[in-house]
Each structure stands twice: as structure tokens, then as C-alpha cells.
């Protein structure tokens, strides 16, 4: 409901997002489709993203990505563990994902999206970062970047999400471990078992 009273500016950003009007929900097998649809529709509001592992009840947490005319502005996970680029890093690779699309008026989001808004800085993501880091879609990232206001295009921070990912040792080691197991399983499947190292 867009008419709800907005909490005071001093409250953390994740408590200040007004509830929007639900305009759609679906389970997406990859992030590109909902991000592209939001950009094409110039959606102002936010996406609520529930990762596949959360859907299965084995962990993960919901994330929120706010949008200004389809261009991502702020990101955070609902559990309060990760803000901005770190929230994108936590969300990467978690498909399938349930995506709810909410519409809000620009006025309702201004107090959060304003670059001078109290406490919003850690939550900010580069305009193309979700398309690049979640969807791995360079063209969509570039299209999103071009749709962003000039001052945001030049803001930098392009590698912050990757830096957050690499700082999460446990996560990276899990990727490596899974790849090793997959390599060995496939080697057997392909008859390459004899070529495996000890």
C-alpha cells in the first residue's frame, strides 16, 4: 500500500521501503528475464527475490532490489546480512528464483533513492551490476547502464559485487568443491577416468 506512513529517515534503509502494489510474480530460471522485463517496462518500485534454496526451505534469504524507471538503485537481503554489492554476491547463482514485482510512485522512493539520503550509500549498486553479476548478461547490463542518469553511469563501483564474492571464502571454496566433484563425475561418464590425476 503506497499510502503507508514512511518511517523516519534515520531508520535503516530496509525498514524504510514502503510496501508497493504487487504487479506480478513468477518463478524465473534465470535473472535476465525479470531484469529485462523491469527495464523494458520502466518499472519504478522494487523486486522481491526469493532464491531457490529458500523456496526449498534449505537456507538463503529474500533480497530486495529497488528500481527507478527499470534501473536498479539499491539492493539488500531481507535477513540483514548483506547490503548493496554484497547482497548481489549473495544472490548470484541462486536460481530458480521467485520474483515479485512491486510498483511504487517515484515520490515514495525519492527519500531512499536520493544520493544524499541518510544511510543509503552502502545499499547502492551500479546500474548494470545486477544484469552483469546475477544474469551474466553484458548486453542487458550495457542497456541498463545507458538507461541510467549520467551521474549514475559515471559512479563506478563496477567490481564491488565480485570483490564481495571473493571475500566470501566459504562460498568460493564451495564453487571449487562442486566443480571438482562434477569434473570427476563427468570424466567417468565420458570414459576419461584414466586421464584423471591422482
Amino acid at each position: 500500500m503506497t499510502g503507508e506512513r514512511t518511517p523516519p529517515a534515520a531508520a535503516p534503509v530496509r525498514e524504510r521501503l514502503p510496501r508497493g502494489d504487487l504487479v506480478g510474480a513468477r518463478v524465473a530460471t534465470e535473472f535476465a528475464a525479470p531484469l529485462a522485463a523491469s527495464l523494458d517496462d520502466e518499472l519504478t518500485g522494487y523486486l522481491r527475490l526469493e532464491p531457490g534454496d529458500a523456496l526449498l526451505g534449505v537456507g538463503g534469504s529474500e533480497a530486495v532490489l529497488t528500481l527507478d524507471s527499470g534501473v536498479p538503485v539499491l539492493a539488500y537481503d531481507a535477513g540483514g546480512d548483506a547490503d548493496g554489492p554484497a547482497a548481489l554476491a549473495a544472490l548470484a547463482g541462486t536460481t530458480p528464483v521467485r520474483v515479485e514485482r512491486y510498483r511504487l510512485s517515484a515520490d515514495a522512493l525519492d527519500p531512499l533513492h536520493d544520493p544524499a539520503a541518510d544511510g543509503s550509500e552502502p545499499f547502492r549498486v551500479a546500474p548494470g551490476a545486477p544484469a552483469r553479476e546475477l544474469a551474466g548478461d553484458d548486453d542487458l547490463a550495457e542497456r541498463t547502464r545507458e538507461a541510467a542518469p549520467a551521474e549514475r553511469r559515471a559512479a563506478g563501483g563496477d567490481h564491488d559485487a565480485l570483490a564481495a564474492f571473493l571475500a566470501d571464502e566459504e562460498r568460493v571454496e564451495a564453487v571449487r568443491r562442486e566443480a571438482r566433484a562434477e569434473a570427476r563425475a563427468r570424466a567417468d561418464e565420458w570414459g576419461l577416468g584414466d586421464h584423471l590425476a591422482e
Binding site: 551474466g136 565480485l162 571473493l166 576419461l192
Partner: protein, 261 residues
């Protein structure tokens, strides 16, 4: 002396072919270099190297009767082209040629090439999803991992490393390509997880796209570009390790027969 490197990324769009030719040209200043388009299913090196009209390619060598388009018998040297200071072995893109080709012959072809060069660079398929796609990684001594500074690309790069390690193949280094702005801490952070150094950071560049459109390797088309300079610096970080010629040739000859991709 010869060392075989697979240039691999595990995903498409990282600029692997541009990288293969750029590293090849840079290394050719110090070594005798042979570049092979080992991505026989989605060959594109010929377009990057100005060899779109090459009369004989790897595809013809892989045909069971090894005959050129005019029906004459051919050998490996007929598909080798001296270009840009290197020996380039392109792969054709015709569907008929692909269907006629016998991938089992690749190892023989590469074994012959290995006998006569210092550095062998194998431009590898942009996937790890089939037996023939991982073959260059299985066969190579080391892998040059090409990635972009994004979470999906780096995850795939880690996957390439783990596949390589599973087959006893080393990592020559990691090259970040199409980098926008400053890589910041990412290069150093990545080194914690890769078994080789971060070789460099190549800026996202219109020069690379223009070079591709012109059918020229970047280092020929725009040798003074920032991207070309970054590639030369990255190549300086690759120190080929001497291997007995026989070792590499034997490895290719003893490799299993790949199925069609």
C-alpha cells in the same frame, strides 16, 4: 622445447579468441608460436586472423580421407598459415566439413604440430559440457584462464581450473578481460583461489571489436591501444616451461578419441 597451453574460459563472450591471438603474437617475439582453433564446433579464429578464405583448414585435416576441397591429398602443413609472426591453424565453419570431420584425428594433427614449435596455443571451446570440449584442457600442459570481472564469469573460470586440476593440467595464470575501470582489489583477491598468478587486466575496448571486424588480430590492428599493451604485459608473465617434444606429442597421440561435440 614445446609447451601446450589451452586458452579457456568455460563460458562464451570473454574474448577468448582475441586473447589467444594477442598472447600468441606477443609470445611470438620470443618463441616460435603455433595457434590452433581447437573449438571445432564453433570455429571463429579464422575470422579474427583474416583467414576466412583459407583454402585448407583443420576441418579438412580432420576428414577421414584428408583431402582438400580440390580432392588432392593434404597434410598438416597445408592448413598452417604464417600470419602475424606466428603459425596459425584455422578451423573451417562449413556444416558439411564439420559432419565429415573425424574428431579422433585432432590429436594426431596437434601431435604433429607440437613436434615443430616452442609454444602451442589451443583456442578452446567456450563450454565444459562435452568430452570434446574438455579435450584441449586434458591434453594441455597448462591453461591460460580468460575471464571477465563478474561473478558468473569468475565462477566459470574457477570451474575451468578445477577441471584442469582433475586432469593434472596446471594453471599458467588468469587474465581478466573486458575490464571497465580499475580492477581494484579483485586481481589480488582472485590469486588466493587460483593456482596461477593474475596475468593482467585488459580494458574493455572498441579496438578489440574493430580488429575483429577488420579480420585482424588486435596487436596488428591497434598495436598502440591500451588493450594491446595490456596483452603484451600479460604475455610477459607467461614463462613457457621446456618439455621434451616427445612428451607432448605422445600425450596427444595417446589421448582418448573425442566424440562429436
Amino acid at each position: 622445447m614445446v609447451e601446450a597451453f589451452a586458452v579457456a574460459s568455460g563460458k562464451g563472450g570473454t574474448g577468448k579468441t582475441t586473447t589467444t591471438l594477442a598472447l600468441g603474437m606477443a609470445l611470438a617475439r620470443r618463441y616460435d608460436v603455433t595457434v590452433v582453433d581447437a573449438d571445432t564446433g564453433m570455429a571463429n579464429l579464422l575470422f579474427h586472423a583474416g583467414l576466412a578464405d583459407a583454402p585448407v583448414t583443420l576441418q579438412d585435416l580432420l576428414a577421414p580421407d584428408a583431402r582438400g576441397p580440390d580432392g588432392a591429398a593434404i597434410d598438416v602443413h597445408d592448413a598452417c598459415y604464417d600470419r602475424h609472426g606466428m603459425r596459425v591453424v584455422p578451423c573451417g565453419t562449413s556444416l558439411a566439413g564439420f559432419e565429415r570431420s573425424d574428431p579422433a584425428r585432432l590429436r594426431e594433427v596437434v601431435a604433429e604440430l607440437a613436434a615443430d614449435t616452442d609454444v602451442l596455443l589451443l583456442d578452446s571451446p567456450a563450454t565444459l559440457a562435452s568430452k570434446s570440449a574438455v579435450l584441449p584442457i586434458v591434453l594441455a600442459d597448462r591453461v591460460v584462464v580468460v575471464t571477465q570481472p563478474t561473478i558468473p564469469a569468475l565462477s566459470d573460470a574457477l570451474k575451468v581450473q578445477e577441471y584442469a586440476a582433475s586432469y593434472g593440467t596446471g594453471i599458467a595464470g588468469v587474465l581478466f578481460n573486458k575490464v571497465r575501470g580499475d580492477l581494484g582489489s579483485v586481481g589480488a583477491q582472485a590469486e588466493r583461489y587460483f593456482e596461477g598468478p593474475t596475468l593482467g587486466s585488459v580494458p574493455d575496448s572498441d579496438a578489440a571489436r574493430a580488429a575483429r571486424d577488420a579480420g585482424e588480430p588486435l596487436l596488428s590492428h591497434a598495436p598502440d591501444s591500451a588493450a594491446a599493451e595490456a596483452y603484451r604485459a600479460a604475455a610477459a608473465g607467461i614463462e613457457p616451461e621446456p618439455k621434451a617434444v616427445g612428451d607432448v606429442a605422445d600425450r596427444f597421440r595417446s589421448a582418448v578419441v573425442p566424440e562429436r561435440p
